[in-house]
């Protein structure tokens, strides 16, 4: 049976939904092993077992987080060799894609990013040119490296749990020698809302909120949604840059995207037009966002959003 390796960087206390999705895809392709970086607690090992992982690899050095990308790719190359994997799955974050990039060169392996589905023969599905084409692509090399977008599959537990062996992979000292070092780190405050790229619902605000994200956040909380923003809103400093959706921000593909006070410039559309359902609230009937909205409201977001929030609360009792 084919062997698959899933990379999970710092799994923390419990597996994230996106990790469960990677493991679900991995099992459909073959025998699954996992390479982790960072602390590994027993609950996580058990959870990986419940996901059918037969082996869990850890790096021999504990300071890979002190460096950018290169040393993690070197570690992962060692884990690929140790596991005999022919497919490697990573998350589609900026870090995930770059680790995949360097791993690909180390292994002479083709890398495919932004994957939304993988067939048994390794054919990957993705969309390109800001969602205007759907394509299938395949690595022509012995090993293929794929980064998979969140929300691509529904995570499921394995039919049979495994009790994985925990193994250490030697990371050579040379891996960190010339690498860029992380010399300072400041935590960002956590919002308590769902992660933007993984959220089922996103409520996003643009320049039209005029400095007040209150109505957007209240509607998001009523719906259990994540908060997104246009670049105009993040550039104005009304909300952090990590909320930006679009070409140079996050790409989201939720069940529902509510766009409020956003015109729908091409760079914004690039990050959200694969949402299942798009709702737009905008004062200007000519805004391009209405060309792609399933339900559009020409109106003032300061009237429409609070009214919707009240109504949702009422119906949810």
């Amino acid at each position: 049976m084919a062997k698959v390796l899933v990379f999970i960087d710092n799994p923390g206390q419990a597996l994230k939904k996106s990790s469960l999705e990677l493991l679900t895809i991995a099992r459909s392709l073959g025998e699954t092993a996992v390479a982790v970086n960072g602390a590994l607690n027993d609950d996580v090992v058990a959870a990986l077992g419940a996901q059918g992982a037969t082996a869990v690899f850890r790096p021999s050095s504990e300071d890979l987080d002190a460096y950018l990308i290169g040393p993690k790719a070197a570690y992962l190359a060692g884990a690929v060799a140790a596991s005999g994997a022919t497919t490697v799955l990573l998350e589609n974050s900026f870090d995930g894609k770059e680790i995949a990039a360097r791993l690909g060169i180390k292994l002479g392996a083709g890398v495919i990013t932004d994957v939304v589905g993988v067939e048994a023969d390794g054919t990957a599905h993705k969309s390109v040119l800001a969602g205007s084409y759907t394509t299938t692509a395949k690595a022509t090399t012995a090993v293929s490296v794929l980064t998979v977008k969140p929300n691509s599959v529904t995570p499921e537990p394995a039919a049979a749990a495994a009790s994985p062996e925990v193994l250490t992979v030697d990371v050579p000292g040379s891996a960190t020698a010339g690498a860029a070092r992380i010399t300072g780190r400041k935590d960002k405050p956590a919002s308590g809302r769902p992660d933007l790229t993984e959220a089922r619902i996103v409520v996003a605000g643009g320049r039209g909120v005029d400095g007040d994200f209150g109505p957007v956040e209240e509607l998001a909380d009523a719906l259990g949604a994540a908060v997104g923003a246009s670049r105009a809103a993040t550039d104005a400093g009304w909300i952090g840059h990590d909320a930006q959706v679009g070409q140079t921000g996050k790409t989201v593909s939720p069940q529902l995207y509510i766009s409020a006070g956003i015109s729908g410039a091409i760079q914004q559309k690039a990050g959200m037009q694969t949402a299942k359902v798009i709702v737009a609230v905008n004062k200007d009937a000519e805004s391009p966002v209405f060309e792609i909205a399933d339900f559009g409201i020409i109106g003032d977001l300061f009237q429409v959003l609070p009214q919707a929030t009240e109504e949702i609360k009422k119906r949810k009792g």
Partner: protein, 266 residues
């Protein structure tokens, strides 16, 4: 300082973009200098201007790999302020994936560093066509250089590059020794436009064309032959069409909730 800025000639994202029917490669008519590379060029100009600019011997070399039309991305870079241009052009490069592209670019960078060493290779955070962000990291791997990617602030000081990098959960300060490969985000600066003086000055700047033979790359290592991935099928997605549009008459918030309920999204 000697800085190489990678500039790519890409289809204008404001217009409809297409893949060719024959081989699923990107149709490059109506191409422009990738907007995201303008931030890298601006960063290079700021770094060299702070050190006395071209007069003090600083070099900003705009390097583009691509077919004949790619020279337009180089010309625009020269108008904006790059001191010279290099066009890596060879029919065998057509259809290169990220791995093959990084191989050719790495060889070009080595070639350009043969007479005097390169301090920095600067790139945009992604190309606006492929959008993979793979090439800067792969270039760093191939050149065995530190990679400092997605920089939103950048400084060079005493043989070190210091950058700020934002992730979802942290703001990081990243440091590496020169030479390094650095990619920058659109948060880093406000790119300048070419002005009249720049457009006139660009006419006197040199653009060197390089072939694969000149940089010592075997044509079998690049293009479709040298790529490690293959696009098998491509289908245009039907454009999204507009749905119901209503004008708020005082109850649009309630109608919005009705719509969500009907879609089972509550």
């Amino acid at each position: 300082m000697k800085i190489i800025v990678l500039v790519k000639h890409v289809p204008d994202a404001q217009l409809d973009r297409h893949l060719s029917d024959e081989d699923n490669t990107t149709d490059r008519a109506d191409s422009i200098l990738s907007e995201l590379d303008e931030y890298a060029l601006e960063a290079a100009l700021q770094l060299t201007e702070a050190r006395g600019g071209a007069k003090a011997g600083n070099q900003v070399i705009a390097l583009s790999m691509g077919p004949a039309g790619a020279v337009n991305a180089i010309k625009k870079s020269l108008q904006i302020g790059a001191t010279e241009g290099v066009h890596l052009r060879d029919d065998a490069l057509a259809g290169s994936d990220a791995a093959a592209t990084s191989l050719a670019l790495a060889a070009a960078v080595r070639h350009l560093g043969a007479d005097s060493p390169v301090d920095l290779v600067l790139t945009g955070m992604a190309s606006t066509d492929g959008e993979t962000s793979l090439v800067p990291a792969q270039l760093a791997e191939r050149l065995d250089l530190p990679q400092v990617t997605f920089a939103s602030e950048l400084e060079v000081d005493g043989g070190r590059v210091i950058a700020r990098r934002d992730s979802d959960t942290h703001y990081d300060t990243v440091e590496a020794t020169l030479p390094a490969v650095v990619s920058v985000t659109d948060q880093i600066n406000e790119p300048r436009f070419p002005n009249f003086k720049g457009i006139i000055a660009a006419k006197r700047k040199t653009i060197t064309t390089l072939t694969l033979a000149e940089i010592g790359v075997d044509p079998a290592q690049v293009g479709k032959a040298g790529s490690w991935t293959e696009v098998k099928t491509a289908a245009a997605r039907p454009p999204r069409t507009a749905g119901t549009i209503i004008t708020d008459e005082g109850d649009a918030g309630i109608k919005l909730v009705d719509f969500l309920a009907a879609q089972k999204l509550l």
